[in-house]
């Protein structure tokens, strides 16, 4: 915490308290990430929005990034903390490459490293305000896991963060199956993202889909989903509840 004290000549003097600064609230945030395992690897979808509270302020934020040769990281939550995590991972993968010995960190190792980082920060009451999704393929094995800002960590066949937990996961539970083709996987992700677009106020209609396979990572160009607003219940939404909006 810092205080400003005005002195005679009008100058303000800042006095910093001994207590170090901790993360108390997120400021610029990204919304849901949805990811599934499919036949050749992992598919991940995210929109490109960065909200500043209730304002949809930034519309070109890439919330998914390739890590090393085998992994893909997606993040929701505070964007600056995501960038900090990318810096940590950059250093980690750089040192890994410098060994130059035929061994490399796979998605499982990166996921566990992130779990340690997130949990340790939580223990110091200074969390990185993110929910991270880590997907990857190494030696033919697909991997998909998630870490939350309090260090809760697990692996699954399909994951979603934020609003996606409530809106996308029921769809995935019903419609996901093992060894989906690329086209089916994308269709499923788009279905989830469309629901999120209708119902999550911090979602924007500009999304990217990333794919990771044994060959590597490809992040698609941003594109929009077709939406339909002529549902009868959208026409007069307050018909059943006078006075609401």
């Amino acid at each position: 915490m810092t205080f400003t004290i005005p002195i005679d000549n009008g100058d303000a003097v800042k006095i910093a308290e001994a207590e170090s600064q901790r993360t108390l609230y997120p400021y610029v945030t990204g919304t849901s990430i949805v990811a599934i395992k499919y036949k050749d690897g992992v598919l991940m979808a995210s929109d490109m929005g960065g909200s500043y509270g209730s304002t949809l302020r930034y519309k070109n934020i890439e919330r998914m990034q390739a890590i090393g040769k085998h992994s893909l990281l997606g993040a929701s939550g505070e964007i600056s903390d995501f960038q900090e995590i990318l810096r940590y991972l950059d250093e980690l993968t750089l040192n890994d490459n410098m060994w130059d010995d035929g061994n490399s960190l796979g998605p499982k190792e990166i996921h566990n490293y992130l779990t340690r980082v997130m949990y340790n920060r939580r223990n110091k009451f200074n969390p990185l305000w993110n929910t991270l999704v880590l997907g990857g393929v190494k030696n033919g094995k697909s991997y998909l896991g998630m870490v939350s800002m309090i260090g809760v960590s697990f692996e699954d066949d399909h994951v979603a963060t934020g609003f996606g937990n409530h809106l996308a996961r029921p769809i995935l539970r019903d419609e996901w199956h093992a060894d989906m083709s690329f086209e089916d996987g994308v269709k499923l992700l788009e279905k989830c993202m469309r629901v999120l677009l209708y119902r999550d106020r911090s979602a924007i209609n500009k999304l990217q889909i990333a794919k990771i396979t044994e060959e590597g990572v490809t992040v698609s160009q941003p594109y929009s989903l077709k939406t339909f607003w002529e549902f009868s219940s959208f026409h007069n939404p307050t018909a059943g509840a006078e006075g609401s909006w």
Binding site: D101, N103, G106, K108
Partner: protein, 279 residues
Amino acid sequence: MFRNQYDTDVTTWSPTGRLFQVEYAMEAVKQGSAAIGLRSRSHVVLACVNKAQSELSSHQRKIFKVDDHIGVAIAGLTADGRVLSRYMRSESINHSFTYESPLPVGRLVVHLADKAQVCTQRSWKRPYGVGLLVGGLDESGAHLYYNCPSGNYFEYQAFAIGSRSQAAKTYLERRFESFGDSSREDLIKDAILAVRETLQGETLKSSLCTVSILGVDEPFHFLDQEAIQKVIDTFEKVPEEDEGEGEADEGEAEAAAAAPAEQGGGAGAGDQDVAPMEM
């Protein structure tokens, strides 16, 4: 190596560019009892000779498990070896905790070598007086390394260190080209035969050697006395006869098996009792 005016300090070079203290440390390795390592594409076997201080004491532990996928055999100052094994276990377990993945042995060996190098460049330290044969797995399969007190490390298909290791090395040099494709059982047999070479005449008994193995689908573990004795019995004939290449007919092998087994099961003090059997 003779005493000279450049050998008091590890941080003093000789005019010919040698660090004598480091070389003396490597001598300490040669004084320890033998340790042998060999590897195939998928397995690593570490074996050593059990040396006891006296007839009354038990033998010193020279092979240590570092992790499920890494083991180390030492020769030289066993105390230094114990400390370094503890370091290796610590590094390995810290890596496992952070990454939930086994530490590649090649990286552990570099950490170990860097640690040894520090002791060759500080005037208030001395080099570790122990040689380490590190066997382990990483992404590319099984590996065997030798870590030297000098801070150097080398990768080997097979190697032996300690006293009378030259005899074992000669045996291994003859056979190493086939080790890559060896079966697990053949690898163990070759390790025990190499140990026998260092004994130079002394009868080979399972109580005299320790054998350990690790592999791609096999966590590090020691072979028990029975298993070792069984392998010895496939090639060890009656002690009076010349040691052959292991080709004995069924009858002789069985008869010979009974004699060493009885001796091994008894006091086993490494004596040269004449076999009571008559052929």
